[in-house]
């Protein structure tokens, strides 16, 4: 009897030890999202990255996430994750910058990565995407497809990412049609479907026949669809909303970065870096080219490939600014802090 008991106890101990070692082996990676994962845009795409990590590493990695975290609540959330044993924590909103810095200091053994920020620490890196590369491609498509030679561009706020997007779009369009025009409307919101729809309708009534947006709802595409005009999806493939109007979409694909980053933590080779990936790394990609004639598809695919392989840089100088001055080479720093328009943009940049 005692023998059996001893054997059972030993077995139990071994099992316990085995499961303990399994969970100690699994790396815990945690995500903090600013929006709901059901927003079908920004947070949704980051969550796709989490799913990719799960798929890639299986049992080796344990994941956790928190959605709808406001900037005010973010510090608590980061701290909770750090205490719960997360080894790497991703924060996906610009506004998380200061809270992350603070929590990173408190937990030197935990690694942090902050999307779209610029401040780093010994255990805090940043990552961002070169969305403007995709904007160059859609600029070329717009110039080919527009009959009036005018695009309507709905934008949110005058931050460098948005301004660089407008410039890259125009440079792409001008490479096809030097006289291409763009009408710009600032909606002063990231997200208000009705307002974005109003702006879209006004732009179409003012002679634009192709819509570009740097706001987050699908409303402008729906307006384009309704009026038999064209548009481009934002952040994710939105073809479902506008099967006849979406020409392509600039898709944020964070999966490759997250997989690489988690791999680095597993290897012990993780270092705080300022990652800024684009089409080459797969972080920015184009949704299938639809509703386009073959020659335009071919051109768009070639341009995408040229950007991917590094043969083409949308901001390769010389670039003429709106005020007529010429910049010989636009470096990364200039793009990340862009506060001027290129020549041909018929708008005054809000300061």
């Amino acid at each position: 009897m005692t023998k059996y008991l001893m054997a059972a106890a030993t077995a139990a101990l071994m099992l316990g030890a085995a499961s303990a070692s399994a969970s100690a082996d699994a790396l815990k990676a945690c995500w903090v999202y600013v929006g709901p994962i059901g927003d079908f845009g920004w947070s949704y795409q980051h969550h796709q990255g989490l799913e990719a990590v799960k798929k890639e590493f299986g049992d080796k990695v344990e994941t956790a996430y928190a959605e709808n975290v406001t900037e005010a609540d973010s510090e608590k959330t980061f701290e909770r994750f750090a205490r719960e044993g997360c080894k790497i924590i991703y924060g996906t909103s610009f506004g998380f910058m200061e809270p992350m810095l603070k929590v990173a200091k408190k937990f030197p053994d935990v690694k942090f990565e902050h999307a779209t920020g610029y401040k780093t620490a010994d255990n805090l890196g940043t990552y961002n995407a070169k969305f403007h590369e995709g904007r160059y491609v859609i600029g070329q498509i717009a110039a080919k497809m527009s009959k009036t030679g005018t695009a309507g561009y709905i934008v949110s706020f005058p931050i460098p990412e948005v301004v660089a997007g407008i410039n890259a779009f125009m440079l792409g369009a001008q490479s096809v049609n030097p006289d291409f025009k763009v009408k710009i409307v600032w909606a002063n919101t990231w997200f208000d479907p009705a307002k974005e729809a109003d702006a879209a309708k006004v732009l179409l009534s003012q002679g634009a026949d192709i819509l570009v947006q740097h706001t987050d709802s699908t409303a402008p595409l729906q307006v384009a669809q309704e009026q038999g005009k064209f548009g481009f999806g934002q952040a994710s493939d939105q073809i479902k909303f506008a099967p006849k109007a979406q020409l392509t979409a600039i898709v944020d694909n964070w999966a490759p970065h997250y997989v690489r980053s988690v791999q680095a933590v597993l290897d012990g080779s993780w270092k705080p870096a300022q990652v800024w990936d684009g089409m080459a790394e797969g972080t920015v990609s184009m949704a299938p080219f639809t509703n386009l004639p073959d020659d335009v598809v071919k051109m768009a695919a070639e341009t995408s490939d040229a950007i991917k392989t590094g043969k083409l840089n949308p901001f390769k100088g010389p670039v003429t600014k709106q005020d007529g001055t010429v910049v010989d080479a636009v470096d990364d720093g200039m793009i990340l802090g862009m506060n001027w328009y290129v020549k041909g943009v018929d708008d005054k940049l809000p300061q």
């Binding site: 059901g38 949704y44 208000d192 009705a194 109003d198 009534s205 003012q206 409303a219 479902k240 005054k348």
Partner: protein
């Protein structure tokens, strides 16, 4: 000419949800009840409207669902403030928070799905003329019928109305439910007509604008019409100015609808006696019968 017609259609679309919600709230307030939960009722109307149209494929069922959802929310408000005598301001604010949260929860599976659009009749959404018709109907009802007179009496002096034998709480329930139905419809307009899709918080503050319109329009239906259309006109014109590259700072243009509408309505409310006559004297006060 053609372009003016196009712009006019855009303006009417932009003004209609404000007009519907403000008209409903005006009737509620005329009965002496201040329901600050317009935003919450609207957003519930939006999610229910989308859901109804999406599930059945029939946008008219969506319209009906949005009205029912708004009424359900307002019934909750009525029960808390009229039967249980809770504070109207606090309950209204809570109703907005509840609506925003509940709609996000209910609408989770609708996100990313294209909606069903209400077909337009001869280029005009049927709800646009309906809203205009309601301005006349509500005006006629409030100022030309006995029932309208009773509602206004209840809102001006609930004790007198009670002494005359009117069922104050019953009348207020009806007015609150009408407000809920109109707010719900305004929300449904957003998710079925304006932009056929559902996303969290898609009303984006329109309920608050409707609330402000009621006050600045001195509780008069035709001033609400003027206010809603003025707001729509200025917001659309500010986009037109931007699209034409006027060089006027966009932040200024964005604030113009608010500034312009308030300014205009303050000017037309210059007649103090008229404003005082039209402000419901018992607004926001709970009524306890038989004391």
């Amino acid at each position: 000419m053609d372009i003016l017609l196009v712009l006019l259609t855009i303006i009417m679309t932009a003004a209609t949800p404000l007009l519907l919600a403000a008209l409903g709230e005006m009737v509620t307030e005329r009965s002496g009840v201040l329901n600050l939960g317009v935003e919450g009722m609207m957003v519930m109307g939006a999610v229910a409207g989308f859901g109804g149209a999406y599930a059945t494929g029939n946008p008219w069922i969506g319209v009906l669902a949005s009205i029912v959802a708004g009424m359900f929310m307002s019934l909750l408000f009525g029960f808390l403030t009229l039967t249980l005598l809770a504070n109207q301001v606090a309950t209204g604010l809570a109703l907005t928070l509840l609506g925003l949260g509940l709609s996000a929860l209910l609408g989770e599976s609708f996100v990313g799905q294209p909606g069903v659009k209400l077909p337009s009749l001869g280029g005009i959404d049927p709800l646009v003329p309906f809203a205009l018709f309601m301005v006349f109907a509500v005006g006629k009802f409030l100022f030309g019928t006995k029932m309208g007179l009773v509602i206004r009496a209840v809102g001006n002096s609930h004790t007198s109305a009670h002494a005359l034998g009117y069922n104050v709480i019953g009348v207020r329930y009806v007015a609150v439910l009408f407000g809920g139905a109109m707010s719900g419809l305004a929300g449904g307009y957003l998710s079925i007509v304006y932009t056929p899709q559902w996303v969290e918080n898609m009303t984006a503050g329109r309920g608050w604008i409707a609330l402000a319109l009621v006050v600045f329009a001195s509780w008069l239906p035709f001033r609400i019409l003027a206010g809603a259309y003025l707001f729509g006109t200025i917001s659309i014109l500010s986009f037109v100015l931007q699209a034409q590259g006027s060089g006027i700072p966009s932040q200024f243009l964005s604030s113009l609808p608010y500034l312009g509408t308030i300014l205009a309505l303050v000017v037309i409310s210059g007649n103090k006696a008229l404003t005082r006559r039209n402000t419901p004297a018992s607004l926001g006060q709970p009524f306890v019968p038989d004391r």
